[in-house]
């Protein structure tokens, strides 16, 4: 017999009842409390994936998110979720998983031929080989490489279930990352003093090292109990802090405990956004591998992972196991294996002496001191090891499992993101981070402290240092449960690489070998960041956590420098793979952005409107399911012939009040507003300081010191901020109050030759005749018994009014107008018809106010004040914005009335059609003429009125002649609007 098996029960086991799951199509059985990895091991599954480049068979190497090899795709009702480490996937009934990067199957992988070709696949292989010809990259090489070398396959699936992930905001005094002895102790001290504390740990089982040491179980349970009683302490298991984002903000991803769920459903996730005044990083260490030939064979596992599978899940990784170590900590695994009756063939230790070796020998184990494993042998899995003993003799030992331990590296990624200083610890042969006290403290083994009791002490002192930084004085240390003392220990002896024949891997996920690192250096990529990119060492889901430092040490040796001088690659979020769905949280699908609804939204719905998204707004496009030109033109022509009503409530509306309001508006608008008479409206044009048009709208003077501004729908928030910015920075002492009333007022345009007759039915207290209420008049009035405002303004080019009432009364007023107006010929019209009407009239909107046009370009230059300061005054007059070849607003018409226009069609000189002279911005069928009309931005356009040009849209295979005309296709003398 060989391979992994379950030999008993484990601490993490919740029940021995079988939990069935499916891996690569086969049904297996595990236990509640298993991870997918432990359940696979318990079933003797040794090969769980193929490697990235060479397609070598790989097994489970670790027991955490640092896992390089056992990446699987989870298949659930919402789709495929690739690249999940099996070591972090909790086993649930009905779970379905697949191995990755093998084709057609895991046992027989066609592409494993790459292994035999490996001398032709060195580091930087892709860059070197697939350089030429360049067209082949896109068509041939990349698809081939993507298929051959890759991780899991993403299934793009829209709309995950709305509840699959949520985002939650948290605030705390101290965030403790890691619930080992150091983190728990710090939390206990801080929480006992009444501070708010959040403890986040990536594991389902809290306690870190104390969870795996039977002597510490009582302490661990007692302390977790004490923490649970502290009202200000929250302890989150299965919660990985995935990044530090500055200013005390951290992201943490929590996998929610799985309840009784339908078969195959996946765990749901919660993204915590945590704001913390300080932090304790008690993130512990990650065990590292030793680079030696054969160190990637299935059956090789890190010693600490093996201890976790044994103690936590009752699983032995092999039947005859050998431990190769350079440190004391790994001995615990061998001693526990022996205690539980799983044979340990030998312990090979590179060091001459350690107290741990004495303890192992006392337990009856064979220890080869000052010895090393030269190679791990095997074809499909570990079969034997070749050991060189102290005397230099070579022994071949038959084993089916090799446990490696090259020492422990503090988990520094989070600390590095927080700008930690790194110092070298020779007793651990690793970099240890120190945080600036204003950010927090590092504690426990991440801080270079060895032993659990020492970690407790370090956690307590970290808490005290935080209290000092937060100026809380010394905290009372609460009573801790009794804890066992740490055993005497010896330092490790660095052991990065055993050189020999065969591939020695430093990065199992990306198949990076020690030879690749040396090649990178020889080819000039000797900076640690360059080497990383050249070899891909330390990239992707595992971030090279178990071999990163090993590879860097190999590079240091190759460069002939000390490892302390090699530096570390920059760490960035995320610390582990994060599903996009978890980042999106609720803000996906229908909730991606809020929806903004008009006050009459329901009425529009009931009357068959088709809606269009305009920014966040939902606006009625046309009152029909049929959105063709026929229905749009019917609405538009009805306005021209009789009368129409449309909802323009989405316009921005801003009240500006105060004795300096007129002067302030003179500064804001290019044209003068202080001279506006009470009860009158004026078109208003705003420039940016660079002289380009920002927005347009109307200004009504409602009182001596009281103005009402309207803005375009899209620029409502922009204009409000524009006003507030200049009011606060340049007019701080002025008597000007700006109030956004956009949502308070509903506003309807009533347009068409019959509009006066229609409104006369509902408007009281106001004579609408031309004499008393001429074009551009404004007044308060009662509309359908509701106090509101009437403006005689026209976007459509017809005799028209806009009425405004408080939005709460919008429905009653709108309904009343329609009820009384319909017999006279009134009908509602939508945004498309509104657009048709304004294009014919030559009114500009977003397509023409495109951030590049000046007032002159739009033919509005005459509005701009010639005296006095206003925003954009100086730069609007600069030479570059005057005439020349600038794109200017014109109208156009195809010479063939059968020919339609399209937005974006380019205009060219038909004699010399080599360069675009401009393009169509807006177009529509005409309401009263035959054929189409449009607006265009055309080079030196104002001087081209009357010319014929060629309009070309190569995308539509169209080219035809157009006549350039005035943009005012209809009623250029404003007779209708003044009727």
């Amino acid at each position: 017999m060989s391979g992994p098996t379950r030999i008993g029960s484990g601490l993490f086991e919740q029940s021995s009842a079988p939990v069935r799951f499916r891996f690569d199509g086969r049904i297996y059985s595990g236990r509640a409390g298993d991870t997918l990895a432990s359940a696979l091991l318990a079933n003797g599954v040794q090969v769980v994936g193929r490697s990235f480049k060479y397609h070598r068979r790989r097994g489970i190497v670790t027991a955490g998110p640092e896992e390089p090899c056992a990446l699987v795709t989870l298949i659930g009702p919402s789709g495929r979720e690739p690249n999940r480490p099996a070591t972090t996937v909790p086993l649930t009934e009905g779970l379905v998983a697949e191995s990755q990067n093998r084709w057609p199957s895991l046992r027989f992988d066609v592409l494993s031929i790459f292994g035999a070709l490996s001398r032709f696949l060195p580091a930087g292989f892709y860059y070197k080989t697939f350089m030429w010809p360049s067209f082949a990259w896109e068509r041939v090489y990349e698809p081939l490489i993507r298929r051959a070398a890759g991780l899991g396959r993403v299934q793009p699936s829209r709309s995950p279930p709305a509840s699959s992930a949520v985002t939650q905001h948290a605030h705390t005094d101290v965030l403790v990352v890691g619930a080992g002895p150091a983190g728990l102790s710090a939390a206990y001290v801080l929480g006992s003093a009444g501070l708010r504390v959040i403890v986040a740990d990536q594991d389902a089982i809290l306690g870190g090292g104390s969870a795996l040491d039977p002597d510490w179980h009582a302490w661990r349970s007692a302390l977790l109990g004490l923490l649970a009683e502290l009202p200000t302490v929250r302890v989150w298991a299965r919660t990985t802090v995935i990044g530090a984002y500055g200013h005390g903000v951290y992201g943490a991803l929590q996998t929610l405990p799985v309840g009784p769920t339908p078969a195959g459903s996946q765990p749901t996730e919660k993204l915590h956004v945590i704001r913390a005044a300080s932090t304790v990083l008690a993130t512990g260490c990650v065990e590292r591998l030793i680079a030696l030939p054969g160190n990637d064979l299935p059956g090789v596992m890190l010693a600490g992972a093996a201890l976790r599978y044994l103690v936590g899940h009752g699983i032995s990784a092999g039947h005859r196991t050998l431990l190769f170590t350079n440190n004391d900590d790994a001995y615990a695994t061998a001693i526990e294996y022996a205690r539980r009756g799983s044979p340990i063939e030998a312990i090979v230790d590179v060091r001459e002496y350690s107290p741990a070796a004495d303890r192992a020998r006392g337990a009856g184990l064979t220890v080869y001191a000052s010895a090393k494993v030269e190679a791990i042998l095997g074809d499909r899995a570990v079969r034997a090891v070749r050991v060189r003993n102290r005397e230099g003799e070579r022994l071949t030992l038959t084993v089916d499992c090799v446990l490696l331990s090259g020492g422990h590296t503090p988990a520094t990624a989070l600390a590095a993101q927080l700008g930690a200083e790194l110092r070298w610890s020779s007793s651990m042969a690793a970099f240890i981070p120190d945080l600036s006290p204003s950010i927090g403290q590092v504690a426990g083994s991440a801080h270079g402290v060895c032993g659990l009791a020492a970690a407790v002490q370090d956690g307590i002192s970290a808490a005290q240092r935080i209290a000092e930084t937060l100026q809380l004085g010394e905290l009372a240390t609460p009573d801790f449960p009794p804890m066992p003392p740490d055993a005497p220990r010896a330092d490790l002896e660095p052991c990065w690489e055993i050189t020999g024949k065969g591939k020695a891997f430093v990065d199992l996920q990306h198949d990076v070998t020690t030879a690749d690192i040396r090649l990178a250096r020889r080819e000039g990529y000797e900076h640690v960041e360059h080497m990383k990119r050249y070899t891909t060492h330390g990239m992707a889901t595992d971030q090279g956590r178990i071999g990163g430092l090993v590879g860097n040490a190999v590079l240091a040796t190759a460069r002939g420098i000390d490892i302390t001088e090699i530096g570390q690659p920059k760490a960035r979020p995320f610390l582990e793979t994060v599903p996009f769905g978890a980042l999106a949280g609720e803000e996906s699908g229908d909730r991606f952005k809020p929806k903004r609804r008009l006050p009459l939204h329901d009425w529009h719905t009931q009357h068959g409107a088709t809606f269009v998204n305009a920014g966040l707004w939902l606006r009625p496009l046309v009152y029909s399911a049929d959105t063709s030109w026929n229905t749009v033109m019917a609405e538009a022509r009805h306005v021209r012939r009789e009368a129409g009503i449309t909802d323009v409530s989405s316009l921005g509306k801003i009240e500006v009040a105060g004795s300096d309001a007129g002067a302030f508006l003179d500064f804001i608008y290019a044209n003068r507003m202080s001279s506006l008479a009470m009860g009158r409206c004026r078109y208003g044009l705003m420039l940016r300081e660079d002289g380009i048009v920002l927005d347009d709208g109307t200004v009504a003077r409602l009182g001596k010191d009281h103005f009402l501004l309207t803005t375009t729908t899209v620029n409502a928030t922009v204009v409000l901020e524009h006003l507030e910015f200049h009011r606060q920075t340049l007019y701080p002492q002025a008597d000007v109050t700006i109030t956004d009333v956009g949502d308070h007022w509903a506003q309807f345009a009533v347009a068409g030759p019959l509009s006066r007759a229609v409104l006369a039915e509902v408007v009281e207290e106001l004579d609408l005749s031309n004499e008393t209420f001429p074009f551009m008049a404004a007044a308060g009035a009662r509309i359908a018994k509701t106090p509101g405002r009437v403006f005689r303004i026209s976007f459509s080019g017809e005799l028209a009014y806009e009425v405004a009432v408080p939005a709460r009364h919008a429905l009653s007023v709108w309904s009343k107008i329609l009820e009384l107006g319909e017999p006279l010929g009134l009908k509602p019209y939508g945004l498309d018809a509104l657009n048709t009407l304004r294009i014919e009239k030559g009114h500009v909107t977003g397509a023409e106010l495109n951030g590049q046009t000046s007032a002159n370009d739009l033919g509005l230059g005459r509005l701009c004040k010639t005296v006095g300061d206003y925003i954009g005054a100086t730069l609007a007059r600069r030479p570059g914005l005057q005439g020349g070849q600038r794109l200017e607003l014109v109208g156009l018409r195809p010479t063939d009335s059968e020919q339609r226009l399209r937005n974006g069609t380019h205009l060219l000189d038909s004699e010399n059609p080599t360069a675009s002279l401009g393009y169509v911005t807006s177009c529509t069928p005409a309401t009263e003429q035959v054929g189409w009309v449009g607006l265009a931005l055309l080079s030196a356009g104002h001087s081209r009125v009357g010319q014929r040009l060629l309009a070309a849209s190569p995308m539509h295979n169209e080219a035809y002649d157009v006549e350039i005309v005035s943009p005012h296709h209809l009623d250029p003398d404003n007779i209708r609007v003044r009727a």
């Binding site: 200013h247 901020e721 910015f725 606060q728």
Partner: protein, 93 residues
């Protein structure tokens, strides 16, 4: 993510604010001419280090704030109202 100490509302997330550009420049007098305005609109020091920026607290008190921020570390030195005196530290880094 920046956390900005609004003088009116307290510490708030960056997402509540809208960035509005360089706060080291001042609008020239009306008659200063094109060159002065071009400098005001276009010329930017783009410092690596301390910098003053306008941030508008659009989701809170709607105040325009001058935030002195380190463009490398994101450390915030001061947050003040437009008329308050402010200083831009000399970067010792």
């Amino acid at each position: 993510m920046l956390r900005i100490l609004c003088p009116h509302c307290g510490v708030r997330d960056e997402t509540e604010f809208r960035y509005r550009g360089d706060a080291t420049t001042a609008r020239p007098a009306a008659d200063s001419g094109e060159t002065a305005f071009a400098r005001y609109v276009y010329d930017r020091a783009n410092p690596k280090g301390w910098h003053a920026e306008w941030w508008i607290h659009v989701a809170g008190c709607r105040a325009v704030l001058r935030v002195v921020r380190h463009t490398v570390t994101h450390e915030i030195h001061s947050v003040t109202l437009p008329q308050a005196p402010f200083d831009i530290p000399v970067d010792a880094r």
